[in-house]
């Protein structure tokens, strides 16, 4: 129940810079996802907020309070680890009660609070077991209960779902989101799974190599990516990128020519740019048999998914794009097709900086 302000945080491990000058504000009661590939520094950032790591430079504020030098126990944060880090020698009750016992809370209060939080997470029938007697999903609930029992101001989650199987993950995802809003707790959620971030977070910060590339709500980062990396990281399958050359009012894409999307006409003229990356999402394009105005290619492969299918089209000998098509349509290998991207959803990136043209 605080607002977290990260002010120019840099963290170095020896010569390696894990976090590079990160500035980020996480609003009170907000669910913020830190999204990035492994090794991007997202967990380091989380541990810096928790106080396990101290930033090499920069400041951390909880509301107005400078907590940069404050040890973890005085920050009032709860942390759920990727492997849940339950104490194997303690029963579930003791695991959850541990933070309260350390605070020397009276016995009745501990008892009451543990039962309360256990009930909230539907693990009240498991209190008498050891962690190794529980399933993965149950262990994870215990870990969340332990983080919540001391009523922290901030809940930090380090890939808490990545050790669960796919079905359970979907279930917990919805529940966790609901829980965070009910408790009105400020939450920071580290994940490498873009679907999790999109599904749960109020805002997403995409991190790569210790830098924050973009911060925004799920719609914003999904539909208005600032970088090719962001566009390619979000969505499954990710956004397609093909090289394109500007030729007057047209874009040459391998063996096809299509008009420059309207929203980019002015920008291209202004920037006087010739080489761009043409980006479109698999569901923002149609696939048409034979020749039409669009990107020509031939069917390389198709993967039915039940409701729809993913078609892989070879635009050139080793350039492939993926497009969704309705399940009823049946294609043959090698069939000539044309991809017609939805013009208003197309995003052009600068080839050198890999930044979207409108942000150049």
């Amino acid at each position: 129940m605080v607002k977290i302000t990260l002010d120019r945080i840099t963290k170095k491990f020896g010569k390696f810079t894990a976090l590079n000058n990160i500035t980020l504000e996480i609003e009170d009661k907000e669910f913020m996802a830190l999204l990035g590939p492994s090794g991007s520094g997202k967990s380091t950032l989380l541990y810096t907020i928790a106080g396990i790591y101290k930033p090499t430079s920069g400041k951390i504020y909880f509301d107005e309070r400078d907590v940069t030098e404050v040890p973890p126990k005085d920050r009032n944060v709860g942390l759920v680890f990727q492997n849940w880090a339950l104490y194997p020698h303690m029963k579930v009750f003791k695991n959850i009660a541990f933070p309260l016992e350390l605070k020397k809370a009276p016995k009745e209060e501990i008892e009451k609070k543990v039962r309360e939080v256990a009930k909230m997470l539907h693990i009240d029938h498991l209190l008498d077991r050891y962690p190794w007697q529980l399933s993965g999903g149950q262990q994870q609930r215990v870990a969340i209960a332990r983080a919540l029992v001391k009523e922290p101001d901030v809940l930090l989650l380090d890939e808490p779902l990545s050790n669960l199987d796919a079905l359970l993950r979907l279930e917990v995802r919805a529940e966790l989101k609901r829980l965070q809003k009910e408790l009105g707790i400020t939450a920071v959620y580290v994940t490498h799974d873009q679907a999790e971030a999109l599904a749960m977070a109020d805002r997403i910060a995409i991190i790569k190599d210790g830098n924050i590339l973009q911060v925004g709500d799920p719609d914003e980062v999904y539909y208005k990516p600032m970088y090719k990396f962001v566009a390619g990281f979000l969505g499954s399958p990710p956004m397609n990128f093909v090289e394109a050359e500007v030729e007057g009012d047209m874009l040459r894409i391998y063996h096809s020519r299509i008009p420059i999307p309207k929203q980019y006409g002015e920008i291209i003229k202004k920037l006087n740019i010739t080489e761009v990356l043409f980006g479109f999402r698999p569901h923002d394009a149609e696939i048409v048999r034979g020749e039409a105005e669009g990107i020509k290619g031939e069917i390389y492969s198709f993967e039915p998914l039940g409701r729809e299918q993913i078609i892989t089209v070879a635009v050139d000998s080793d350039v492939f794009v993926k497009v969704f098509a309705p399940e009823e349509e049946h294609f043959r290998f090698g069939e000539k097709v044309t991809i017609v991207p939805r013009e208003d959803r197309v995003i052009l990136f600068d080839k050198k900086t890999e930044k979207a043209l409108e942000y150049l």
């Binding site: 541990y47 880090a85 194997p88 350390l102 529980l134 001391k150």
Partner: protein, 289 residues
């Protein structure tokens, strides 16, 4: 315990037989000792005719009668107690110091940590016998003036000196055990509000019980078996020095010494049998899919 169930079973009996054959001298030695202790004459000549069963040796040992004739008496119970004090003292000292030091070396960054680990390893390589002159000098220098303290002091000194020999290896062993515990457990404890010493006590120690037990066991055995240090520094006798002192005495009745030797073996065996149960039992890790 599980094993690969499809391993080839063909040549297994050859291996078992070889192992048995190789350990035969050892088994035979212990067997002869135990059998002799129940016999009027030693059976170490491997002749069955010298085995004349009796429990007299054991009765004599407990009564402290060293020779069948003559009136030389020793209080064996007190000697056993002395041995126990030294063994438990060494065990306790080694365990306490090595769990603390092992934790620090494994988990806390400080200057000279690497050097310290290297020196510990070097220290372990020094044979205890080689150090004995220096250790004796220290013993004389710190020897108390007050005569009534002398015996207590000698206990204190021998425990510390003997423990010092065990500590380097034990610290390494404990460090290894602490290294296997994931950092997340420690971080989790710290975030929950525990101090480092509480993390050590309440989270780490219960998780490395098998390691603690191993170190305690080795410490106990070191103290129980030690001859040289005990003989040099301890004014009282332990079982080891008692056997050593009487084995060559002209009045000594060998089967009686065999009984004392068997007595000397017993705690080791009991300790091992109970400890191995605990050693084998370790927590299955926290992660389950």
């Amino acid at each position: 315990m599980r094993d690969v169930e499809t391993r080839p079973k063909k040549g297994e009996w050859i291996i078992v037989f070889t192992i048995l054959f190789a350990s035969l001298p050892l088994i035979l030695g212990f067997a002869l000792l135990v059998i002799s202790s129940f016999s009027r004459d030693m059976v170490t000549n491997l002749s069955l005719s010298s085995f004349r069963p009796t429990i007299e040796n054991w009765i004599n040992v407990f009564q402290g009668k060293l020779a069948i004739t003559g009136g030389i008496r020793q209080n064996i119970l007190k000697i056993t107690l002395n041995t126990l004090v030294v063994a438990l003292g060494v065990s306790g000292t080694v365990t306490l110091i090595s769990t603390l030091a092992g934790y620090s070396l494994s988990r806390i960054k400080f200057k000279g940590r690497k050097l310290m680990m290297l020196l510990l390893l070097m220290l372990h390589a020094f044979p205890g016998v080689a150090l004995i002159v220096g250790v004796y000098l220290l013993y004389r220098l710190t020897f108390p003036q007050e005569p009534s303290f002398v015996r207590l002091y000698s206990f204190f000194y021998v425990i510390l000196a003997r423990a010092a020999l065990e500590i380097p290896m034990s610290v390494w062993l404990m460090k290894g055990f602490f290294d296997t515990i994931p950092w997340e457990l420690e971080w989790s404890g710290i975030i929950d509000g525990a101090s480092r010493i509480k993390v050590w006590r309440q989270i780490m120690l219960p998780l490395i019980k098998p390691g603690i037990l191993a170190v305690a066991l080795f410490g106990f055995l070191a103290g129980w078996q030690d001859l040289i240090y005990v003989r040099t520094f301890l004014i009282d006798q332990t079982l080891a020095t008692f056997i050593e002192a009487n084995i060559e005495a002209e009045y000594s009745h060998m089967p009686l010494i065999a009984a004392a030797g068997t007595l000397y073996l017993l705690p080791t065996i009991i300790f091992f049998l109970t400890a191995q149960q605990l050693l084998l039992q370790s927590y299955s890790g926290g992660i389950k899919g």
